[in-house]
């Protein structure tokens, strides 16, 4: 590896740490409240830590602990985690276009493991091919803080007053807003897509309460994104890394 490569690698690690830290801090707060749920389901601190390192998904893990608490069958757990995490299938497909075609299967597999809503947000926030080193660095830091938050929640969840736990549980939605609002400000179609998503999500939640939040997310994502793609297809210059 020549000097320039090493230097750019170091820069990517530094950028990854810079962008991973705020994500990790938010994760810590959210995972803390998740840890409280896990504790209620009888999950040990070590189990919670391992589950968080490997699953690192708020909705998926919440479902996991709820199902463990309800003594669900293994196939049920697999099915519900598949549905709650199905949005990652779409993100993974989207990210396949943003990772350099030179990257081998191993590199792609590891990058796929790193996908979370926020890490994906980091990847799409940059034009062109994304650096795997950058994503991995941000992910490792954020994932350790996520697992640390779960661990602390299991160990000390009942120490915090309920109002504080509730306030912390809003953190993850604040992070989602920070990812979707700036592009919505720049691009009217994205702004429209976000607004329609809010409205339909609200409508589906209130009118079809039997639909789980995971299923609702998957169905609305496919329907709204497909409608937007038909009505407002991208111009070539909007596609980031795709042009040769």
């Amino acid at each position: 590896m020549n000097n320039r490569n090493r230097e750019s690698k170091r820069l990517m690690i530094r950028n990854g740490l810079r962008d991973g830290l705020p994500i990790g801090l938010g994760y810590f707060a959210v995972a803390f409240s998740l840890g409280i749920t896990a504790r209620g389901a009888g999950v040990s601190p070590l189990q919670g830590w391992v589950a968080s390192i490997l699953n690192h998904a708020s909705a998926g893990e919440y479902a996991l602990y709820a199902l463990i608490g309800a003594r669900a069958a293994v196939w049920e757990i697999a099915a519900v985690i598949f549905v709650t995490n199905m949005r990652y299938l779409l993100m993974s497909a989207a990210l396949s276009q943003r990772v350099s075609p030179d990257a081998g299967a191993g590199k792609r597999l590891v990058t796929g493991f790193c996908i979370t809503d926020e890490i994906f947000g980091l990847a799409v926030a940059r034009p062109g091919y994304v650096s795997c080193t950058y994503l991995w660095t941000a992910f490792i830091l954020a994932d350790l803080m996520w697992a640390g938050g779960t661990l602390c929640g299991i160990l000390a969840g009942n120490v915090l007053p309920a109002e504080v736990v509730i306030a912390l549980s809003v953190a993850i939605y604040g992070m989602f807003l920070a990812i979707i609002i700036p592009p919505a400000r720049k691009n009217r179609v994205v702004a429209g897509v976000v607004t329609v998503s809010f409205l339909l999500s609200f409508g589906a939640d209130r009118l079809l309460p039997s639909l789980s939040s995971g299923t609702r997310t998957v169905v609305l994502t496919v329907v709204i994104a497909a409608a937007a793609a038909l009505l407002f297809p991208l111009k070539d210059e909007e596609t980031g890394g795709e042009q040769a």
């Binding site: 009888g42 497909a93 989207a94 306030a167 700036p182 897509v193 999500s201 997310t217």
Partner: protein
Amino acid sequence: MTQNEIWIAILVGAAVSLAVRALPLTLIRKQIRNRFIRSFLYYVPYVTLAVMTFPAMIDAARHPLAGAAALAAGAAAAWLGAGLFPVAIIACVVEYLAGLI
């Protein structure tokens, strides 16, 4: 559940999560030329995150007004260019304060 059953549940969950996250990225090696698919994949993250935020954010709060206040404050801060962590903190603080009312 016994401790062993919990471990099995965790590992099954982890395997499903990994498959969902890694398979498309590993299997789709070529650049997608189809304009519809490219556009679809471009819009996916915005829709997914928006759907997960609302109304869940309102329902997670102590009462709907506190959730709405946190949503408005967080959206305004993000609009003005605040990063991930500041927006998350602002949402938490506003929810806490509005929740006291």
